[in-house]
């Protein structure tokens, strides 16, 4: 097990990255990479063709996320205060900041789960506030979202949880694995294989450990064939080993699929080694926005210092 310790190309002197054995398995071990998601249409019956063909191909845009002077108030509290942010395609961005600094609110603006009080949110080239329900659904279907508490449906099997990610491409309600086309099932298995849980396809989701649950949630997000991945504190409920496991997996997926990733995180050290770019929020304002390589730990930690007196709160 000791040989699993891999020295990391740490950007900051004095911080040596150690990757735990379990995490390395993701990369070097038996698990395959993210498979090409195009399941051959021959795999399933006629409905499979309908399933694989994506009705609404989101156009590939250079800046998947654009926030322009976005403000969000809840009563007297200002959660976001004139936030400007542009994320370019393929970028892996870590969102830092104390609890209540507006990280979650920001993520919820991007996929339209919440609307800004003022300002403009343009996600994947579409202005979010101009969308009707159907448009919002279409937009959300191409944005994968990962939650702190995984939010799997515990009563369902692992496979069916992953399959729910493909619901937007299917018509009508589904209940039970049998109600999904074969092509969808094979595709879901493909992603489960990628996160290393194909052999647990028929286990109930509420019997999984935290790390396993989050990996299933990642597979569910992949099932959406997203072009953008939002992660809201994905490792805040996980133990260190699962944390490394999940973060590595996210990074690997981002690279393999060319995904844009926006991930809110608590741990500065984790974010510095992981992301291309760090964005820090304080009281709803962007106080830091730099390439990770250009920053040292002290600069980032400054975000967490007690708020200077001239600030509102």
């Amino acid at each position: 097990m000791d040989d699993a310790v891999v020295p990391a190309a740490a950007p900051t002197p004095g911080t040596s990255g150690v990757v735990r054995a379990g995490a390395v398995d993701v990369l070097a071990g038996g698990r395959g990479p993210i498979g090409e998601s195009d399941v051959s249409p021959a795999a399933g019956p006629a409905s499979a063709v309908e399933f694989t063909a994506r009705a609404d191909q989101t156009e590939i845009v250079a800046t998947p996320v654009e926030l322009r002077a976005v403000t969000r108030r809840f009563g007297d509290t200002v959660a976001l205060d004139g936030v400007d942010l542009t994320v370019t395609k393929g970028e892996v961005v870590a969102l830092l900041g104390l609890s209540g600094s507006g990280k979650s609110t920001m993520l919820r603006q991007i996929n339209g789960l919440d609307q800004p009080t003022s300002g403009k949110v343009i996600t994947l080239g579409q202005s979010v506030d101009g969308l009707n329900q159907a448009g919002l659904r279409r937009l959300r279907s191409s944005i994968g979202m990962i939650f702190q508490q995984f939010e799997l449906v515990g009563m369902l099997t692992v496979l069916e949880n992953v399959l729910t990610g493909g619901l937007a491409r299917l018509r009508g309600p589904r209940l039970g694995t049998w109600s999904y086309p074969q092509a969808a099932k094979l595709e879901a298995l493909d992603y489960l294989w990628a996160v290393g849980l194909a052999d647990r396809a028929f286990q109930r989701a509420d019997t999984l450990s935290g790390g396993q649950s989050q990996r299933v949630a990642i597979a569910r997000a992949l099932m959406q064939r997203p072009s953008l991945l939002l992660a809201d504190e994905p490792v805040a409920s996980l133990d260190p080993e699962s944390t490394a496991d999940v973060m590595l997996l996210l990074r690997q997926i981002a690279r393999d699929k060319g995904l844009t990733v926006l991930c809110s995180l608590h741990q500065v050290d984790l974010a510095m080694g992981w992301a291309d770019r760090l964005v820090a929020l304080r009281s709803g304002r962007v106080v830091l926005d730099e390439s990770a390589a250009a920053l040292n730990r002290e600069q980032v930690m400054a975000v967490y210092r007690p708020v200077p007196s001239n600030s509102a709160k």
């Binding site: 993701v26 990074r251 690279r255």
Partner: protein, 576 residues
Amino acid sequence: MNGTSIKDPVRTELPRRGSFWPAAKPRLALFGLLLAGLVALGYVRIDPAAMLASRANAVNFFNRVGALSFPGATDLLYQTALTLGIVLLGTLLAGVLSVPVAFLAARNTAPGRSAQVIGRAIGVLARATPDVVLAMVFALMFSLGALPGIMAIGLHSVGMISRLFADAIEQIDSGPRLAVRACGAGRLQELTAGVLPQVMPSWLATTLHRADINLRGSVILGYVGVPGLGMEMRNAFGALNYSRGLAIAVVIFGLCLGMEALSSTLRRRMLGAAPVKASRPAAARAAPTPSAAQCVVTRSAGQPSSTKSVAPDLGRYLERPWDGQRVKRLAGWCTAGFALAGALVVCQINLTDFVTVWSHLPPVLDKMWPPTAGAYGIWRLLGALMATVAVAFAAALMTLLASLIIGSLAARNVASRPSTRNFWRATLVVIRGIPELVLGIVLIVVTGLGAQAGTLALAFCHIGLLGKLMADSFEELPAGPQRALTAAGAGRLQMYVAGVLAPGRQAVVGHALYVLDTNIRAATLLGMVGGGGIGYYLLVAGQGSNYGQVTLIVAMIVAVVMALEGLTVWLRRTLA
């Protein structure tokens, strides 16, 4: 801290209590209900002397009846299967109908405020209309047979199932549902993928529980022409063939006990099958902040895997393994399938009835309208309604007193020895298995008493329910204050009053109100079999084809049930 010292005020008088009236209103209402119970006890004349005298009656009766005479085995088996089939199909129908009603009525799934009101109204109306009345109406519309009974059970049970199911829907974890929505799922997809799986066990458990209740209630359907054990029993007693009637009553007793045991086991299995959710928040709480060194993940990590290893044939993972879980599930489905097929065969449902039935609807409605008091006059009916309400109140009060004692003895934190608790728990299970209607019929036939026998049957059988609810509530009370009382040197009785009764009083009131609520309906049914009150008039009106009277009587019952329900809802809210 900042210089100004706070003076210690000297208490010269007791602190004032808050305003009197708001807190007193629910208490006065409770006191009124208690008083009503006492008055009702006097009204139904629970008279120990008369009871003792009737005991002699009973002895005479049994001497005269001699041995029980059971019907032939094939006949008995057929009637049993028929009764079970009607209950099963009716409950299943109700379960299916309840799903859309509950989704309409639940706060978090209702498409709008008005839909929620409609969903609730359907439930309340279904709950307030006795299934016997529905069976009477359906008997007019359908050809005779099992179908009116199935339809009656099916519609009436929607009331309870949809309400409990809606409660379950409101209690779901909204996270997974939000996640499904974030995947871009449509409205209906969100419900089936994010909500329905979470409430399936509760739906099954509620429906099973209702099947249990419906089996007890099915006897009364025999009195309005629905075939099965209930009708056999009524015919036997009608022909003064007491030994046969009692024999069938014994069979129904056994059936109810068996069903109770089966359904509670199944429910426990089903609700217990899900691993406790508590692991989630626990994990969140226990999660240590990963030490920095451990979880630094690098941007360049993972280079080795860029040589793509091809995933093996994943198809084999699609073969669901035949593990114990799957075998059990398949066995469950098969059993359910066989039971359903058997029920359909036994009940001989004529599906064309569903097509032809609609043409019968206008004349039936025409017969039922306008409501009229007929030859009885409205005052006589109102008096009978009062008698029914009195039976319900008197029985509820007796049940409350007995359940307080037995329920306490059956609570782990009150009973002095585990054996005491186990004994009383077992007693409660047995009492719960006894259907009050059958006990009422037998008591009325055997002792010759009317309202008293009905009240006693109702009071006795509901001890099983109320006692269990109380014992459970007492056991759920936090143990801290009790330990503190013991540590302070309180005696056993002091401990009981201050540590159990005082903190548990809200639960006691809530459960007692629930029993009172069910008692009104049960008392109506007992009236039909001779337990006094409005039920008798309802039965006679139905049998005499005076449907205008049926309409009026049902409206009266529904009004009382709804008024009482409004009162209990208000009381529970203000006391909570």
